[in-house]
């Protein structure tokens, strides 16, 4: 290969009878070929990611009739809205609590599974993955029947042991708890399977060495397991945080944002403002509000992953 990156074939000048053809030389460059080969992927990214994102940003800067450019007015209006700050609080509370619980439960389940002999593990893995495999809208509907304000089966069970009725969807704190419970039920198996894969990749010799050094089980977890799983934990938490922040179906099916808008999250509120109320630009502004927060989270988490990778190299 020549210094300029062209492939070492017969000189183009020879092919064209001595005249140097710059276009042919350009086409033979490795960078050109690489660019041409990535074009389909670039087209997909531009068409399905960049264009919708930029169009969303553009939409959020229009007036309600989408006839006039109003700059950041929709964002200003949202910042001054009491309801929007409720939505902001609920979105953060929901996402952070649900992701933490999913991570903890997933970690615990993965440990339990890891200690089951391999030949008996399969059926447990299959059963524990069921909530994650069922379409969320369908399973949430099942939960809604259990939380139904008038005919809750959970309340019926509680009444057997003389526990008073719980207003699962009627009181805002109970409704928030119900939403988080359903999200954790659906999402914990994903954490479990990711952590289980990570646990299986931790070399057994490290545990043997720790045992020889007299490490307790807590010390093995703290100084062997967790550092070896750190990257998987970070990536899984980031991925889940993004998906949980953007969750729509659970809130839509269980509470529709009620009571008093106190269980709305960004996605459900954006749908209500944008599609149901016919204010698409303001709905776009609501849904874009989470972008900077998620971008900051993604930056720190990915930076941590890169650092750890460098340390291990």
């Amino acid at each position: 290969m020549a210094a300029d990156g062209t492939i070492a074939v017969r000189d183009a000048a020879e092919i064209t009878g001595g005249r140097a053809n710059s276009l042919q030389r350009f086409a033979r460059r490795r960078s050109t070929i690489a660019f041409v080969m990535t074009l389909p992927l670039l087209a997909v990214i531009v068409g399905l990611v960049a264009y919708p994102a930029l169009f969303g940003i553009y939409l959020s800067m229009l007036n309600r009739r989408m006839t006039e450019f109003v700059g950041f007015l929709n964002y200003e209006i949202l910042i001054e809205s009491e309801t929007f700050w409720n939505v902001f609080f609920q979105s953060c509370f929901f996402a952070i609590t649900a992701v933490l619980l999913k991570a903890l439960i997933g970690f615990w389940l993965a440990h339990m599974l890891h200690h089951i002999p391999n030949n008996k593990q399969r059926k447990w893995r299959g059963m524990l993955l069921v909530p994650w495999v069922i379409p969320p809208a369908l399973s949430t509907l099942g939960w809604w029947w259990m939380f139904d304000p008038s005919y809750s089966s959970i309340n019926w069970l509680l009444s057997i042991v003389s526990v008073p009725e719980v207003p699962w969807l009627g009181h805002h704190w109970w409704a928030r708890i119900a939403i988080i419970m359903v999200n954790v039920w659906i999402g914990a198996p994903f954490f479990m399977i990711m952590y289980l894969a990570a646990l299986k990749s931790v070399p057994e010799q490290l545990y043997e060495a720790a045992a020889i050094d007299g490490a307790t089980s807590w010390q093995r977890l703290r100084y062997v397991t967790l550092p070896m799983m750190a990257n998987i934990i970070s990536i899984t938490v980031l991925f889940s945080l993004i998906v949980t922040f953007a969750n729509y179906d659970i809130v839509r099916v269980l509470t529709n944002g009620g009571p008093r808008d106190l269980t709305h999250v960004f996605a459900s509120y954006a749908f209500q403002v944008g599609i149901l109320s016919g204010n698409i630009p303001r709905g776009a502004a609501v849904s874009l509000f989470m972008l900077p927060f998620l971008a900051v989270c993604a930056f720190f988490v990915l930076r941590g992953v890169v650092r750890r990778n460098k340390e291990q190299m």
Partner: protein, 453 residues
């Protein structure tokens, strides 16, 4: 060969003549056979056979006018119809005719073909449409969509007459018989008296099933009560009228008192919860179209035969019945506008409207006040005549109402979808705020809605 005149030249000449005649005649035949394809997206009816009437009417009109009418039924489950409207409005392509739910004609007014000519002919024939339909369909002085029959509903009171008689001492069938007259005591059918009935039925274990969440049944019923008390939160020019509004305060106070006699979970009820309350026999009264009674007829006949639909109670400013219409609109980018207008005019005619209402077991409400006498409402049962008073009749002395009217539709729709009227009550009754605090919150929310055009 030449002897019989069958020369090669003759064969070619005659063949060419036949081909030419066919070519010239073909477009004529084509034009007589079809006037193109008209693509319609109608609302997918709740009532299982409800779509049949639309399908038959379209086929009949298409055959008569030699137009190929293509009919799709779009469900409102999961707001599929709203998403379809939004997508077609953005892409400027799709159906020629679409069913538009309550607020959508106003929202898409700039993209809809004006139908003043059709409405002028229809009103000349059948009289005025109800004022709520006019408020929603006539934008900036122009009819942008035709009030539809299919899917349009009122939400009057569906009463368990036995329970109301037993626990509140009210004979609702005598008050509102299945005849074109009011019965004795009909003047006592007021919101103020309903509070007493609610208290008695609540004490007896059969509370009224009135949702107070942010779904349409709740917002519509509370909207009708606001209207009955003369309480509006925004005037027709978009000015907020919350501050110092005694009528609004009176309406909120009334609703807070009424909410004490409702089941304590009504704040989380959806549009199906009141139906279930009636069908399960737990509730003595709900505000709903006859769909709840129709389900009871199938699933709990012993409940259905004790139901009686009557108009809503009256308030200090009159009697208002919650109204939730659909509209038929024609996109301005349609290439079949004349055909679309002709089809919609045909579907709005009395015989077509009666067919739709009859097929839907009386559920569908035509927009013309003169069409409140279809036989289906008198004949349906059990008990016979149970939905006689479902449509607004002249002797009801009632007006169709939509929550947040007369505010400009672009603001009203946002307040409606966010259920601001039920939330203001919830803030007092559930969250323990004072009425002043709740009204101040309402004013701030309306200001937010109004900003940004």
């Amino acid at each position: 060969m030449s002897k019989h005149g069958m020369t090669r030249r003759n064969v070619l000449r005659n063949g060419a003549g036949v081909l030419a005649a066919t070519a010239v005649g073909a477009p004529m035949v084509h034009a007589q056979g079809t006037g193109g394809t008209l693509r319609c997206g109608f609302w997918d009816h709740w009532v299982p056979v409800g779509n049949n009437a639309i399908r038959e009417l379209c086929a009949e009109w298409g055959q008569r006018n030699r137009v190929n009418v293509q009919v799709d039924f779009i469900t409102s489950v999961g707001n599929q119809n709203l998403l379809t409207i939004a997508a077609q409005a953005q892409s400027r392509s799709g159906h020629d005719i679409l069913s538009f739910p309550t607020w959508e004609p106003a929202s898409k007014a700039d993209l809809l073909e004006p139908v003043d000519d059709v409405m002028a002919r229809l009103t000349a024939k059948y009289g005025a449409v109800n004022p709520a339909a006019e408020y929603l369909g006539k934008i900036r002085g122009k009819w942008v969509a035709i009030p539809a029959v299919s899917g349009t509903q009122y939400k009057p009171a569906c009463v368990r007459f036995d329970l109301l008689q037993q626990h509140a001492g009210v004979d609702i069938r005598a008050m509102w018989p299945a005849e074109n007259r009011v019965g004795p005591g009909a003047d006592q059918w007021t919101w103020a008296n309903l509070l007493t009935y609610a208290e008695k039925c609540h004490a007896a274990g059969f509370p009224f099933g009135m949702p107070m969440g942010s779904f349409t049944d709740a917002v519509d019923t509370v909207g009708a009560i606001f209207a009955a008390y003369g309480a509006s939160v925004m005037d027709a020019r978009g000015n907020i009228t919350v501050r110092g509004n005694d009528k609004l305060r009176a309406a909120v106070e009334y609703l807070v008192r009424l909410s004490r006699f409702l089941p304590n979970d009504v704040w989380a009820w959806d549009d199906g919860a009141n139906n279930r309350a009636l069908i399960s026999g737990r509730s003595a009264l709900i505000f709903n179209p006859p769909s709840a009674w129709a389900v009871a007829k199938r699933d709990a006949p012993q409940v259905a035969e004790r139901c009686w639909t009557v108009t809503t109670p009256a308030g200090p400013e009159g009697r208002f019945v919650p109204y939730l219409p659909y509209f038929w609109g024609i996109w301005s980018f349609s290439r079949m506008k004349p055909a679309a207008k002709a089809l919609l005019e045909f579907m709005s005619e009395r015989t077509s409207a009666e067919k739709q209402t009859t097929t839907s077991n009386g559920y569908d409400i035509p927009p013309f006040l003169s069409m409140s006498d279809f036989a289906v409402w008198a004949n349906e049962g059990p008990p016979t005549g149970t939905i006689f008073n479902y449509p607004i009749k002249p002797h009801h002395n009632a007006t169709a109402s939509i929550a947040f009217a007369p505010a400009p539709a672009e603001f009203a729709v946002q307040a409606y979808q966010q259920g601001l009227n039920t939330k203001v009550v919830a803030r007092v009754a559930q969250a323990g705020e004072t009425i002043d605090q709740a009204l101040a919150w309402l004013e701030r929310e309306l200001t937010t809605i109004r900003r940004g055009g």
